[in-house]
């Protein structure tokens, strides 16, 4: 069964009042929901509380649930709402900010040999890629970062992202377009140096 079929089966069972289906749904999406929640709010107890309320509400209304196309998108949107409700009670100013973790290693895009003479190439490559990435991230406003996370990590489409963020799908499309343009602009300044290493490593590789 594909994940999609599995989800729809779960959802159907849930609507008929199967509590194991609720448990399965939780197990399937808990990690992803938690990660997203932590990015939106950063307070673990708020996120846990919101996830708990989200599932309890689904259960309470299971008879009234409508079929949904993308269960993950539905869950993320509901979680986002639950967190925003919590914000209002707790008076926390919402912010969605991504960062590049210190220990995050960018995988080598090209085959670089690992013998000691070429180790510096690998280090240089990593350094270059990291500074490009930092520069790109720093240039993106919070809302754009949120769109990027929802699109390329959660894998939602424009309409689903719009639902989560409470904006129009056209706005999402515009934001993605602007983000791409921006990042292309930054990338252009690095292209030559990054590709220089590409041919360089090739030389080593074949030579």
């Amino acid at each position: 069964m594909s994940p999609n079929q599995r989800d729809h089966q779960l959802w159907e069972d849930l609507r008929k009042g199967s509590s194991p289906a609720l448990s399965k749904l939780f197990q399937t999406y808990a990690d992803e929901l938690f990660s997203y929640g932590m990015l939106e709010c950063g307070d673990q107890s708020v996120v846990e509380d919101s996830i708990q309320n989200l599932f309890l509400r689904i259960w309470k209304n299971h008879r009234k649930l409508r079929p949904v196309d993308n269960i993950k998108a539905y869950l993320i949107a509901s979680l986002s709402n639950a967190i925003r409700d919590n914000y209002r009670k707790l008076k926390i100013v919402p912010s969605f900010r991504l960062s590049i973790p210190e220990d995050f290693t960018i995988a080598d895009p090209w085959l670089v040999q690992t013998s000691t003479e070429e180790e510096w190439i690998r280090r240089e490559q990593q350094q270059l890629q990291r500074s490009l990435l930092q520069e790109c991230l720093a240039s993106l406003p919070e809302r754009m970062q949120q769109v990027i996370y929802l699109r390329y990590s959660s894998g939602l489409d424009y309409a689903e992202i719009a639902e989560v963020m409470g904006i129009k799908p056209q706005t999402v499309a515009n934001m993605i377009h602007r983000a791409s343009k921006k990042l292309r602009h930054f990338s252009e300044r690095y292209t030559e140096r990054l590709l220089f290493f590409l041919s360089f490593s090739l030389l080593f590789f074949w030579g």
Partner: protein
């Protein structure tokens, strides 16, 4: 997918492609080979591919920001399932509990009424309150946006159905961006102790504290009705009205639009104001008393943009450097001194 298929891909299509994502996240040797080939064959895609890589990396590197510890996840799961699997009580059984439940409900209502009057009132009034140094972004039920400044309180009236007039009561300071309702021409009203602001879709700043109330228009039109005075219409961006019902003091002038509401972006913009006035702001925003060594320093003028509208340390540090004065901060007060005073 064949490399030919990628030649007309947009940055977004590349970044959303599962094969492309695998190359960025965890490439196999053949992925590395394949994309090197794509780049060599289609040089025009170079910067698109690099840009798409950044999109994927930004999203991917944050996936593990919050990793849910297994035992806490399990605990949340168990709480949910426990509540779900509780057997439902039958009606007759529940009936026995009615007197006890009514008594405890009464007690609870009394507690809520006594202990929690600011958030749940009998008429469903909702109250937002900020502490010193704290701001709050709110979206009202009609999707108007409000930024509530520190040490402020906003009460929402009970009625927010479509088409009904909308009413909020403010003490403190807030910036309003009102969603127009052209279909019903539903009014939006901000009530303060000195005056009422009536709105039809616009953005403006309201400051209402002990000393006075002031309203600054950024865009649109608002109508003021001053308590115990006539009505007043603001139509020009930058129009600024200061009013105190107690002192029967009314002042109208013009400011640069946006300067009065700069606090919501974390900065304060001053145009030739005495340090004394900044002292008021510090008292109202951070709850500390401002003390001046002498009149000279009290009347020292400030002009410019200062960061730290909600970060006192940053604000004082900046002022100290810019004005070449000494500022001493204790738990309850901020003292402004001449640099010579040792």
């Amino acid at each position: 997918m064949e490399k030919e298929n990628y030649q007309h891909h947009s940055v977004d299509e590349l970044a959303a492609d599962p094969d492309f994502q695998r190359w960025v996240k965890q490439p196999t040797a053949s992925d590395q080979e394949f994309w090197r080939d794509v780049i060599n064959t289609y040089p025009h895609l170079q910067s698109d591919i690099l840009a798409a890589r950044q999109l994927v990396l930004i999203a991917h590197s944050n996936e593990r920001t919050g990793q849910w510890a297994e035992e806490r996840k399990q605990a949340t799961h168990d709480r949910i399932m426990q509540s779900v699997n509780q057997p439902k009580r039958r009606g007759s059984y529940r009936f026995l509990w009615v007197p006890a439940a009514a008594a405890s409900l009464l007690f609870m209502v009394a507690c809520i009424w006594l202990l929690w009057p600011t958030s749940v009132g009998a008429n469903q009034e909702v109250v937002y309150r900020t502490d010193f140094g704290e701001t709050l972004l709110l979206t009202l039920p009609d999707s108007s946006r409000v930024t509530l400044n520190s040490n402020s309180e906003l009460r929402l009236g009970a009625s927010w159905e479509t088409g009904a007039d909308r009413k909020v009561t403010l003490s403190g300071e807030a910036y309003f961006e009102i969603e127009p309702k052209p279909a019903t021409r539903a009014k939006f009203t901000v009530v303060t102790k000195d005056l009422e602001v009536n709105v039809l879709g616009t953005a403006f700043n309201v400051f209402s504290r002990e000393r006075e109330t002031s309203v600054t228009l950024d865009e649109g039109t608002v109508e003021l009705s001053l308590n115990g005075q006539a009505e007043k219409l603001l139509t020009q961006p930058g129009e600024h009205v200061v009013y105190s019902a107690r002192d029967q003091r009314l002042l109208e002038d013009e400011v640069v639009p946006g300067t009065q509401s700069s606090w919501k972006d974390g900065v304060l913009i001053f145009e030739d104001i005495p340090l004394e006035e900044l002292g008021n702001i510090i008292e109202e925003t951070f709850g500390l008393e401002a003390v001046f060594q002498d009149d000279g320093i009290r009347q020292k003028r400030i002009t410019g943009t200062v960061p730290g509208a909600h970060d006192l340390d940053l604000l004082l540090e900046t002022l100290e450097a810019a004005l070449k004065i000494r500022i001493i901060q204790t738990d309850s007060l901020v003292r402004f001194e001449n640099p010579a005073a040792e």
